[in-house]
């Protein structure tokens, strides 16, 4: 445990973690998650968090504004890595919290927790930059394979990263999926991580090239069939931090403020009380700083910027 606390301390400062330590942490996570079901059951009260995307300092703000892991239960809806500059630290911090407080924090897999996506959306490049080789990336991807696909809060709220699948109408159906693999590019496991709600009157092809679009009919059907009241998901940027749809049957939660350091959005987390009441907390981005307290600003365009 001391080892974990020390690592947590390093991570919060964005400091380098040795390759051997990452290896050991990823292995421990695999062992822990091995026993976890595809869809975990979580008690209230609990705070639901959306995409993080490597924005470590905003993740720290998130914990600060919502009580922290010591006092609060959390569900993270995936997409811990890619795009932000601190994908590794963000993921490892959540990993450490999961090892330290396994019953207080639930991790769900996002579409970015895969080899294929992280290779082109930033995480792979970040590891190459920080370590000079891809071993740490491989260890993390191995760990991703074990992360569960969904959660049910208090028999009332179904949590998933993307959305619904036409191939799986029941939560029981999700339980029977073999999840311990790279996310396939089609099929139920893929759809759960890639689909989006939209203003459509039936299932439609997704412009993303994976998953589907689903509408109010599909949501109502799912809620009714499974006896739940809400689908909580992430996967799409929301300027206001959260967005309810379909008469409150679905909510998108987004937890990366000022996404990619340029979108100017706020972030949100959703707290579910014991009586299933919904309380949203909004928070804004902080200026990321390195260990020495120096502000880290993404490179601005140089003054002299000629066309060809």
């Amino acid at each position: 445990m001391m080892h974990i606390d020390r690592t947590i301390g390093l991570l919060k400062q964005g400091k380098h973690v040795k390759e051997e330590a990452v290896y050991s942490l990823c292995l421990k996570l695999q062992e822990l998650l091995m026993a976890e079901a595809n869809v975990t059951h979580v008690d209230t009260p609990v705070t639901i968090c959306g995409d993080i995307h490597g924005q470590l300092h905003d993740l720290l703000t998130l914990f600060e504004k919502s009580g922290g892991v010591e006092k609060t239960r959390y569900v993270f809806l995936g997409d811990f890595v890619d795009r932000g500059f601190y994908s590794l630290e963000s993921f490892l911090l959540l990993l450490c919290y999961k090892l330290k407080y396994p019953d207080r924090i639930t991790l769900i897999r996002g579409n970015h927790e895969t080899r294929q996506i992280t290779k082109v959306y930033g995480f792979y490049d970040e590891i190459m930059r920080k370590y000079g080789n891809s071993n740490v990336w491989r260890y993390c991807c191995e760990a991703f394979d074990y992360i569960s696909l969904g959660a049910v809060i208090g028999n009332s709220i179904f949590c998933v990263h993307g959305g619904l699948s036409p191939d799986v109408a029941t939560i029981d159906g999700i339980r029977a999926i073999d999840r311990k693999q790279e996310v396939p590019h089609e099929g139920a496991m893929c759809d759960l991580l890639w689909s989006d709600p939209d203003d459509v009157d039936k299932w439609s092809m997704s412009p993303r090239g994976a998953g589907y679009l689903f509408g109010q009919n599909e949501v109502n059907q799912f809620l009714h069939t499974n006896g739940v009241d809400l689908i909580a998901r992430a996967h799409q940027l929301v300027m206001e931090g959260y967005k309810e749809m379909f008469d409150g049957g679905l909510v998108t939660v987004w937890s990366a403020p000022n996404y990619c350091y340029r979108c100017g959005n706020v972030a949100a987390v959703l707290r579910i009380e014991d009586d299933l009441q919904r309380n949203y907390t909004i928070f804004e981005a902080v200026q990321p700083q390195d260990g020495g307290g120096n502000a880290i600003i993404p490179t601005k365009k140089s003054q002299m910027d000629y066309f060809l």
Binding site: Y121, A169, G173, D178, P184, P207
Partner: protein
């Protein structure tokens, strides 16, 4: 787990779908919950498989007229597309008004080939640029209006004959400025242009007018058709690889609009249920139709594919992820193509680079990207595109299989708004579950898990789709989808 696209789904206009016969899955044995069709039957949901349903054309938009209150048959209309491709509202023009007795019979008897081109173009103000405009401003105009090409027209001259400025030209300009275009001996025009692009190192870059540039760049042969002409003529031209045609009024005095391959395919897809003869075509596979470029895969074993790739036997033009971006840009120019696949060492598809992505390397601050790897550039493109789509990241590659139907291919082309889909080898099976005993040991080598989604074995583009449709015409014409590419030359 992957669903066979061989289930053909026949749906008549009234929406009664015949249930597809479930085929035994010979592919991977990844245990899904219950077989999805079984689940749906038990719950009394739709009987057909969703993937097959989405691989059939959409139901037609309905127009309510004053008469429809009295007639029992709904008036089925052909949906015509406005000028913008970006999914803005489709306008429905009442084209067919069947009487109750005719019902849907009249609809099914239609031949799409006879549709007039006026149905497809919306008369609206065309954006064009004068040849005197500097290339930089021409580029800004493309970006500002989200276009991939612009007519270059001299005011006062014949508006129905013009050149175009597009991203292929911008790519050429960039390569010329970098000194990567060989100048043939005696070609003073090109030599002069090169000098002006590169600047003489003393004074400022003289701004090169776009007219000078498009005079020397390779171009598709220019075609124009009157709006009274039929789709049949347009498709023959577009199926040969020409990307767009100018549509004029009957007297050929003014341009009504530009008909692109993409708009034509979208139109046919949106209206496919009007045209009964398209149905068997849409249910045929890419392989059966013999369209697209597919590597010879008598045996699609890994070693064959790698051998093909290694000896450049691959018919699909690609570049490796670790090669610098400039190599990809050069290859696109030399091969006269507008998109190139990026693969890894095992020939797995990582993504693709299109000539329109040149827009991301036009400023000095972006020049370092030219020497960075293609894989890195893909991440730049995908990151930017995701942000432009309101934070909706897309899958890195858009692909189909040789066994995918034409309907499935078109549905995906339309949904993703792309110009081509890569053909990949079907994955052999999902990765085996990790046995408990192995956890004690070490983390597995994840090399073999990188197999998804499969190796690149071909490509199918809008041109190929149009070829399949064109060959289906009642008066059979010899269509060569490579025609335009072979004839791309300075006009």
């Amino acid at each position: 787990m992957p669903y066979s696209n061989d289930n053909s789904l026949l749906a008549d206009g009234a929406g009664n779908a015949k249930k597809a016969v479930p085929q035994p899955h010979s592919q991977s044995q990844s245990p899904q919950a219950l077989h999805p069709q079984v689940v749906q039957q038990q719950q009394g949901q739709q009987p057909q498989h969703l993937v097959d349903l989405l691989s059939t054309p959409p139901l037609l938009a309905r127009v309510t007229t004053n008469d429809s209150a009295h007639s029992s048959a709904s008036s089925v209309s052909l949906v015509s597309l406005g000028r913008s491709d970006s999914g803005s509202a489709l306008q429905s023009l009442p084209m067919v008004q069947p009487t109750p007795s005719q019902g849907l019979h009249a609809v099914h008897a239609q031949k799409w080939q006879h549709t007039r081109l006026s149905q497809l173009v919306q008369p609206s103000k065309l954006i064009s640029i004068p040849p005197t405009l500097p290339v930089e401003q021409a580029f800004d105009t493309l970006v500002k209006h989200h276009l991939s090409s612009l007519p270059v027209q001299q005011p006062g001259q014949d508006p129905t004959n013009f050149s175009t400025f597009d991203y292929n030209d911008l790519n050429f300009y960039l390569l010329l400025a970098l000194g990567r275009i060989p100048i043939p001996e005696g070609n003073t025009e090109l030599a002069d242009l090169a000098k002006r692009c590169q600047g003489d190192g003393v004074s400022d870059n003289t701004e090169v007018p776009v007219g000078d540039l498009v005079r020397v760049t390779p171009k598709d042969p220019f075609f124009k058709l009157a709006e009274t002409e039929s789709l049949s003529n347009a498709i023959s031209i577009l199926a040969s690889g020409v990307h767009r045609i100018a549509i004029t009024d009957v007297q050929a005095t003014q341009v009504r609009g530009i008909l692109s391959q993409r708009r034509l395919v979208h139109y046919l897809w949106e209206n496919a249920r009007c045209f009964a003869d398209l149905e068997p075509l849409l249910n045929s596979t890419i392989r059966d139709l013999n369209i697209g470029v597919i590597n010879a895969t008598g045996s699609s074993t890994t070693s064959t594919i790698l051998a093909n790739a290694a000896t450049s036997n691959s018919r699909v033009i690609s570049v490796r992820g670790d090669q610098p971006l400039i190599d990809a840009l050069l290859k696109m120019y030399n091969e006269r193509i507008s998109s190139i696949a990026v693969v890894d060492m095992q020939y797995n598809l990582l993504g693709n680079i299109s000539v329109t992505d040149v827009k991301h390397v036009t400023r000095t601050s972006q020049f370092h990207l030219l020497n960075d790897s293609c894989r890195h550039f893909i991440s730049v493109i995908l990151n930017l595109r995701g942000l432009e789509n309101g934070g909706k990241d897309s899958f890195p590659i858009f692909h189909v299989y040789p066994t995918s139907t034409l309907g499935r291919t078109i549905a995906k082309l339309v949904a993703t708004q792309s110009h081509r889909l890569w053909i990949v080898q079907r994955p052999v099976g999902s990765a085996p579950p990790v046995p408990a005993t192995d956890v004690q040991g070490h983390l597995h080598n994840s090399q073999d898990k990188d197999n998804i989604p499969g190796r690149l074995i071909g490509v199918v583009s809008l041109t190929d789709v149009l070829t399949a449709l064109a060959r289906n015409q009642t008066h059979h014409k010899l269509i060569d989808p490579q025609f335009a590419r072979k004839h791309r030359s300075p006009q």
